[in-house]
Symmetry: C3
Subunit: 662 residues, 3 copies
Amino acid sequence: MTSMPWPGGIAYGGDYNPEQWPRHVWREDVALMREAGVNLVSVGIFSWALIETSEGVFDFAWLDEIIDLLHTNGISVDLGTPTASPPAWFFATYPEARAVNADGVPMGFGARGMASHSSPAYRAAATRIAGELARRYADHPAVVMWHIHNEYGVPVGEDFSDASKLAWREWLQARHGDLDGLNAAWGTAFWSQHYGSWEHVGVPATAPSVINPGMLLDWARFTDHQLRECFIAERTAIREHATQPVTTNFMANQHGGCDLWAWAREVDIVSDDHYLWAADEEAEIGLAIAADLTRSVGGGNPWILMEHSTSAVNWQPRNIAKRPGEMARNSLSHLGRGADGILFFQWRAGRSGAEKFHSAMLPHAGTESRVFREVVDLGAKLGRLAEVRGSRVVSQAAILWDYESHWAQGLEWRPSEDLGALERTRAYYERLWRDGITIDFAHPDQDLSAYPLVIAPAQYLLTLEQAAKLNAYVEAGGTLVVSYFSAVVDENDRVHEGGFLRPLEPALGVWVEEHLPMREHAVGAVELDGYQLNVDVWQEHLVVTGADIVGTYTAGPGRGLAAVTRNAHGSGTGWYVSTRPDAEGLRAVMQRVYADAGIVPLDLPRGVEAVTRRGESADYLVAINHSEATVEIPAEGTDLLTGDAVAGLLTLPGGGVAVVRV
Amino acid sequence: MTSMPWPGGIAYGGDYNPEQWPRHVWREDVALMREAGVNLVSVGIFSWALIETSEGVFDFAWLDEIIDLLHTNGISVDLGTPTASPPAWFFATYPEARAVNADGVPMGFGARGMASHSSPAYRAAATRIAGELARRYADHPAVVMWHIHNEYGVPVGEDFSDASKLAWREWLQARHGDLDGLNAAWGTAFWSQHYGSWEHVGVPATAPSVINPGMLLDWARFTDHQLRECFIAERTAIREHATQPVTTNFMANQHGGCDLWAWAREVDIVSDDHYLWAADEEAEIGLAIAADLTRSVGGGNPWILMEHSTSAVNWQPRNIAKRPGEMARNSLSHLGRGADGILFFQWRAGRSGAEKFHSAMLPHAGTESRVFREVVDLGAKLGRLAEVRGSRVVSQAAILWDYESHWAQGLEWRPSEDLGALERTRAYYERLWRDGITIDFAHPDQDLSAYPLVIAPAQYLLTLEQAAKLNAYVEAGGTLVVSYFSAVVDENDRVHEGGFLRPLEPALGVWVEEHLPMREHAVGAVELDGYQLNVDVWQEHLVVTGADIVGTYTAGPGRGLAAVTRNAHGSGTGWYVSTRPDAEGLRAVMQRVYADAGIVPLDLPRGVEAVTRRGESADYLVAINHSEATVEIPAEGTDLLTGDAVAGLLTLPGGGVAVVRV
Amino acid sequence: MTSMPWPGGIAYGGDYNPEQWPRHVWREDVALMREAGVNLVSVGIFSWALIETSEGVFDFAWLDEIIDLLHTNGISVDLGTPTASPPAWFFATYPEARAVNADGVPMGFGARGMASHSSPAYRAAATRIAGELARRYADHPAVVMWHIHNEYGVPVGEDFSDASKLAWREWLQARHGDLDGLNAAWGTAFWSQHYGSWEHVGVPATAPSVINPGMLLDWARFTDHQLRECFIAERTAIREHATQPVTTNFMANQHGGCDLWAWAREVDIVSDDHYLWAADEEAEIGLAIAADLTRSVGGGNPWILMEHSTSAVNWQPRNIAKRPGEMARNSLSHLGRGADGILFFQWRAGRSGAEKFHSAMLPHAGTESRVFREVVDLGAKLGRLAEVRGSRVVSQAAILWDYESHWAQGLEWRPSEDLGALERTRAYYERLWRDGITIDFAHPDQDLSAYPLVIAPAQYLLTLEQAAKLNAYVEAGGTLVVSYFSAVVDENDRVHEGGFLRPLEPALGVWVEEHLPMREHAVGAVELDGYQLNVDVWQEHLVVTGADIVGTYTAGPGRGLAAVTRNAHGSGTGWYVSTRPDAEGLRAVMQRVYADAGIVPLDLPRGVEAVTRRGESADYLVAINHSEATVEIPAEGTDLLTGDAVAGLLTLPGGGVAVVRV
């Protein structure tokens, strides 16, 4: 992992698309950037058509000019490779390089992102322009890093083209070795799907019924792999000429098709784009999840918030404008959770195109606007936080996040369509967020021994090796909480032998005889410590082989059966929650879990978020008040934003933020 | 109709897919089958790829082995032809044999059932393997019957391929003789659709507006016909070598695309697959409908429940597990309604593939499970019912069920999208089910004179010939109840001359001047015998030409007009109900109808089902308590399940079942 | 504009499709038409296959015969060109002439309207048959006018075929001159969409993300243009032989794809088809909108209601039958709003085809029916209104209606999907309808100085030139009301410089810093004149630069900001309403607006509609009582329907109509 490459403290800026504007606007732009404290902008992300004007013909003049202008004004450049949107001439020359949907329809031009990531023509063109850019700007002092492509997997991940089919067969051969391996992994004896020749293996195009889930799980892996191969090819092309660190912007919050654990291993710097889900009135919780996930896939290192929005976006059903102060709260939450750079899409709102209603640092309304004033203010705030750069977040627990399991659980013909991996992850996360407990996300393959508490909210797919690790984790003293519909299948979506959850029976002291999904809108109940807990969606028929029954079903299909169990195993404890309480309902369970794990939840006022980053010489408490009320929280030190001393109690006005050097 | 071919009493077993398991599991399987009382399994249904490993190359070794093993253990085999799922090599060799959807997209491989049923290549391949199987197993003592294909029409019925187009033109020539006949039948003078050449007649592919309904009705008939032709071709191929009776498993409950009246004429034994609709909390009523329909299309003869589930299925939005005892109740209800065999999909739950979450006789949890214990118990119960085999159900009334009318009513651009043929059928059926009246379903072409009561809940399409029969039925003393939107069109979806319902005016003494659909959520009312009946969805403007007005609209668009009428015609009575009460609301009408028909409803406790089968020497009362309360019902004889004498009152505990030899 | 060409007074009749019936029915038809007072029928609209039986082979015999028969009976003919539905032979010969959808799927035969309007083969065939008809019937005394095609744009407007692509490029070259113009207009610098060659410009087929909005706005213009070119080509072909006036039937109420301002300039007589939206319990308001729009695009001249329905239609989800008297109320409302002809689809209900459940003048029930009796009665009523023919509607205000703005606003990725141009137009219209104020619709390019009040309910797209006109209109004394999300973009969907609404700042004294969409189901409030107004969907952050604040947000994201403003500008007044009240909530605003404009609303009873037409020598008050109560309204003169004198007060029974010569 590379340390951050720009000079100074926290990076501040955004995507900058000068090609949409005349020269006189460029000069205004850089002046206003300086006013706002901008020190890093991303350039060139959608500029292919204007850089390579026809095949092999490059025009770098305008790019030279703007990069020089930025440099002259002390603004560093994160230089994009424009490969997320090949030009019209490319698809006219190589129509076979278009991505194709499951119905066999090749994508049309006029939007973006329509290339087949398996197309040799696309890869050749993408690496050529990446290489040419690297050759030209390898030594430009303004260019501090490379921004390869944009948001891999969006809008197109899956591709059913002929090029994809050929690549798919190669990938399958590499994964499964031979057809026996493939047939076994996919269970092709079912429905007469046995393959006798590689030539017969096709892409999972539109079919009359549900497609083999083993095939579809591999297809998700392959799709992710192909995208990453494109990234690696561009990185390699850049590395032939240039040494600046390389990133690509993830979409932790929005796109689940990329296994960010694997992606993070390929980049020099982890970066993420984050957009609030406007319909969620507590979108700050989703933000915290995304930020923690981004940090976690990067091994806890600082990262860059490559894009977020100053106010509304434009692509949701209803694009809610941010309230006054909300942009700063969002930014500080990212920073508190490890971001060393706070960037936006985009610097100046564009007048044309599909995203003209997306907010920007400089909105359509211009400088005399709430948004620009807050942008300037945020720039000033971040300027006071330079010393936070490089510090690391302090966490107390881990929640498992495994893309392969999410992909597998998301396939069709599951016991209930109300099952949702992200729903359960959010519910447990929200419980901990409200309890002031900072977590890391973790992959089940990784060493978890440092965490006193590990939660597995949605580990539908769990290999025997992973289960063994979790059992050992508990045995060695850890506290493990497992939610329902976990440890059901192996890496090929094959049901584990011996019944659901069997691989975790050592740690949990229970296994699952039968799933008991509930009807739509049906409500059940669990009695737990004398408290009646409403639950819905799901119950299970548990076979208790060693655990203590903590909660029992009193209503619903599982009535009379065990619902929540606690198992002493070795030096640790394994909890199992076989039904769906909401985050509030989880409180009763988690209070007891915290006690087992030796974790003391913070007693924060409702809506207050507090995270600590640990630097070489100090801790930094980042505190955010999402409520409208003035609150006080315990803290001791100096508020870096105001310079005021904090003696015991930090007062945060409604909507306020603080960063206290402890 | 063939008598049942297996030795012993009631058949018990399920689909068995040994190709998914290693040899040591086979041995465990047959041992457990014996423990459970299994005496019949269906083998080979999805085994094409493993039997014909490449074109014309057959491997029967494994199949020989398992059939011998089953035979050795006294288990009979219902041998499947695996033609519902051709192998990958088949589609690679004959890509033109893929079914094509209305958009022209050929179906992809990876699920099942993607063959064009009009493809010569498919038919050749299907009859070849069916013939080879018959040649090999014609004389095997274990193989007692043939199970051709699987669930015809699911997942693919309609096919817009070139092969289908050619077959379609041939079928149309056979049906309509010449183009004049076609143009007249379809009314092609409308919208300039006149055909001057057979070459111009295409399949009803995606069009910019609503397609000619005469064409679409014929398309439904053609689709059904092509499937049946495939069945007949396989049957013929089998008959060249083998004499065991032939069946194919219907889907009376789920798939309306096959005219089961016509299908039943082609099979030696009628069999049906039945899966509860999990969202329906009284799914036992839907079960009873399907069972009665299956028996009825087979002329009242005993039939086989070829598949049902021990607990949840896997393909519905929420797959509700069966409650303890529910599997037995379901099984006995099928048996009570004429089934001589109770089989399941499937014997052992599969670890891989799209249906791994489907329950099985031997679940993932293994033998130490509620499900397996109930399976063993059910086997024992059925073992005590051998003497019921061959007896016939006693019914008191008939409900008309006509696929052609259902197809026609289901086309687009009807007066209201709230009209539903199956909805009305269920409503009237449910009324009779609650009143303890056992019914047959009947086709309007058939002789109905044996029934004191005939109900036509949804006879939108009624030919003049069929109407004349119904008029004669009433004249001769029958009681007929007709629900709204009936006798609207003829066999080509042409509106009858003289106004809606005119063909039944003799029997009913009314006709319909205008339909009066109601707005969404609007509620109207009918006053009937001083009782205020809530109705919705539909009212009509009746012209009463002879009937007595029994109910009058007091709210809704028909306010002040006749709603329910009763007409004396000859020696019988014709009732017309022009609006939609629910099953409860129908009580007021049906009480009077029963009196006209001389039927005395049983006064059963709520949720109790009682059906009688009549054997050579005894009647068998099958009684099922779907409620949770203990109930008593009148009965006299011996409970075959317990051996206890029943003297006057049969006591059924909540959820209990009994079979009383009367 | 041509004066109406048929002899006598108000035209009465409908579509007549004799080709669906045998000769003896023709004779019955004309006899019944005479009974009903029918004097004009439209013939031949869907007769292509029976007129041109194969390419270039014409059979006019049957058409001669029916036209002669109608003529003999004194019924005039509006002769259709049957080009909305080419025959089967046409598409068999020219498969490339099929329209293609965005996925590349060519439309199938069996419905109607599947031709590509850019296809040279289609245009050649359409003009050939139009010309042949004109040659034959140019001098037939029965044929008084030409009815070209049918409902242009329905069911197919957009076409992604190769023919369309070629035409599209030509159209773009004509519009934008060169590629620089195109690239600037569409803002192709965004997302790397720059075009370097015309050959690279394609149709906006299915793409992986949102397509360039400038492209899509041009695509809507192009689609409209191509349809109109087809119309002009047919008109030209007719004009080579015949001189009768030409019309084509618009769909003002249902289809927004045709810019009726442009279409009305091409026809000799404006005509419209109108069908109630059955789910709307006050569909008479929608009817009035459509009638006013139809009249307005035609410059206020009388027009023809070419189709409406006697009772239910057949293509909506629930097709509600008209209540007794409703057909007459509908007809009189059209007449009151300028229609000189009242025609129906169709004369006789067809037995076959997709529209057999559509009501007709002669229903399936025949002459002994409520509908036919009302048809005869309406014929008699219209017979008494001959003197109204040619008179013109008196209006007091204008509402802007601009298809280009509607198209632009309807594109994807707007700030909120709850924004609806037609929704706001209906809300303001409904307010005025209830206040008894008759309006014209107007285009923002036109001279508005004659109107004391102009309302712009949805002028999202407003060019700088149009804004200047509106500013001048106010300055000169006009009263202007502008609703939210207006003056946002220019003619290429580019955001105006300086912030939203800036072009109207002179007239309104405000501009919009930021949009504040609201969450689904959220409710906000505005305080206005001490009254608390509930609002939803939308608020805005206004910058008030000169206006008076009339209403202030008290709840919602704009809390504390200005919501409704009033600006004195020159001699006039500019109102801005930045949020969404319903029609009732608009009352408080509009009362003050009326006062500014010097308009006095009529104090009509709820549900009563009153419109005045002004003739050469008299005014005609058309009054309609949509309520069930008897009402009195002020009037003086003679009721032409009854011949009764009206002295001061006109009494209208529930559901009644009157036409008073004042």
